[in-house]
Amino acid sequence: MRTKSLLAMTTVALADGTPRSPADARTSSLRAGVLPRLLRRPSAAVGLVIIVAFVVLALFAPWIAPYDPIATSFATVRKAPSAAHWFGTDEIGRDVFARVVFGARASLLAGVVSVLISLSIGVPVGLVAGYAGGATDMLISRVTDALLACPFLILAIALAAFLGPSLTNAMIAIGISATPIFIRLTRGTTLAIKAEDFVLAARAIGNPPWRIAIRHVLPNIVPPLLVQATLAIAAAVIAEASLSFLGLGQQPPQPSWGSMLNTAKNYIDNAPWMAVWPGVSIFLLVLSFNVVGDGLRDALDPHHA
C-alpha cells in the first residue's frame, strides 16, 4: 500500500515536475472547510464579528468619530458621559469616544505588524533550523532558548527602551520578543513533516533542499502557524497597550488605549469614565483574538476538539 502510494506520487511528480503529496491534499481539504467550521463555534463567530467591527472602526475612524481625537477644549474638561460626549471627555477636554475609535488603529496596527515581523523572521529561521539540522540547528536553538529565557514583556520593554519610545519601535520590540515562539514552532513542525513519505519522495527525485522546504514543508506547517499567529496578535495587542501605558509606545497626543489608561489612572477618583472604555476595548479585542485562535485550533485539528 505504502509502496503503491509512493509510486503514485512519483508518477505525478514525473508528469508535471512537482510532486503532489497526500499531505497537500489534506491541507487543501482542511482549508476549504476551516471557515464554516470556525463559524459553527458560537464564541469564535462572535469573536470574528468583534474583530471585524474593530477593523471597520479603525479604517473609517475619521467618519465614525464625532470629534477630532486630539482637539482640546477647556470648556469640556472631564465631563461625564452625555448625549454630546458618549464616553465623556478627558483631562484636557478631548472626546473619549473619538479617542477610543482612533485608538483602535494603534492597537490593530501594532497587533498585526508585530506578528508579521515575528513571522517573517521566525518562519524562515525555524525552517532552516528544522530542515538543515546539525550545527545550524543547534546554534539557532540555543539563541532561541536565550530569547525565550527573557520574559516576553520585559524583553520588549528593554528593547523599546534602547530603541527609543515610539509606536514603530514598540512594534519592532514586540515583534522581536515574540519571534522565538515562531522559530520553535516552525522548527518542531518542520522536523515532523521532514520525516513524512512525500518529503522523502520529493527528495528521491532530486529536488533541491530549498525547493522541498518551501514547496512541500512550508504549506504543511501553515495550520499551526495560523493558530499561533492569531493568539500572538492577542498577546501583541496587550503588549502594545502595556508599552503605551508605560509611555514606550504611541506618543501623545496621538491616541492609544494604553496611554489613555495611563492618564486615566491619575483621575480615577473624579473622572472614572476615562478609564473604563479604553480598557473594555483592549479586553474585547484581545478576547476576540483569543477565542478565534482557540476556534481555529479546533477547526484545523479535528483531534484537538
Binding site: D145, A149, L153, I154, S242, L246, G258, I268, A275, I282
Partner: protein
Amino acid sequence: MSTFLIRRVAAIVPTLLFVSILIFGLQQLLPGDPAMVLAGEERDPAVIAHLRETMHLDQPFPVRYLYWLRGVVHGDLGESLRMQQPVGALIAAKLPVTLELACIAIVIALAIGIPAGVVSAVRRGTAWDYGANVVALWGLSTPNFWLGIMLILLFSVTLGWLPASGYVSPFENWRANLASMIMPAFVLGNAIAAVLMRHTRSAMLQVLSSDYVRTARAKGARERDVVLKHALRNALIPIITLGALEFGTLLSGAVLTEQVFTIPGFGKLIVDAVFNRDYAVVQGVVLFTATAYIMLNLVADIAYAVVNPRIRVQ
C-alpha cells in the same frame, strides 16, 4: 540520574552565554555614541570621558563584551548612573518586595486555578465547565493594569476599603502590608489562575480516563476520593512544573502592576530606569530575570525527573 543532571546543567551554559551576549548587545541599539547617550541630557565632558574609559568604548565589541562578562561573573552588574549605586545592590533591595507580591499572587492563582480546573474536568461539558472556561478566558484577556485601575475604582475610591497605592513593610505593620498587597496580588494572580486552570483541566481529563482511575472506581471508591486522592495527586505533577514556567508572566505582570499600585519593587525599578535612561539598570534587571528563569526551569526539570523516572532516560 547523575548523567541526566550533568547533561541538564551543561545545557544551560550556552543558553546563559547567549543571554549575556543578547543583553550586552542591547547597547548597540542606542543610536549614536553610547557614551553621549548614557551621559544624559547634560552631556558633561567629564562624564563622557569617564564612561568611555569604564566602558572600554575604544575597544571592539567582543573585547568590551568580555570585560563586561568578567564583571558580571564577579557579581558586578555595573552602576546606576542616576542613583550612583551598584545595580546588584539595587536589585537586591527591590527584590523582596516583588517576591512577596509574587508569593501572594501564586497562592491566589493556585486557590482559583486548581479548583476551577478540577471542577471543569470532572463536570466536563456542563455549565460548570463552560463557566470555568469563561473565567479562564477573562483572565487571559484582561490587561492587568486595567484590572488594577478598576479594582482601585471599586475598593478604594467607591467603597474606601483598601488603600489605592503605596507599600508598607510587613515588619512595620503586617495588616497594612496585607491591605496594600491584596489588590495587586489578585491582579497578578488572575492571569496565572487562568493558565493554571487550563493546565489542570487538561491534566485532569487525561488522568481521569486512565486505567487506575477506572480500577479505583471499580473497587467502589467514593467519587470524591477518586478525584482528589487518585486523579488530582497525579495530575498535580505536570501542573506544578508547567506552573513554574509562569514565572516570566509573573515578573512581566509585576512591572505593570507595581506601576499601577506604586509599589517600590523590581518592576518599578526597571520602569524608572527606562525613563531615567539608566541603561545599566535595564540590562541588569533583564539579565537577572533571564538567569532566574533559566535556573527555575532547571529546578522544575530536575524535580520532574525525580518524580518521573521516564524523563531521565529520554
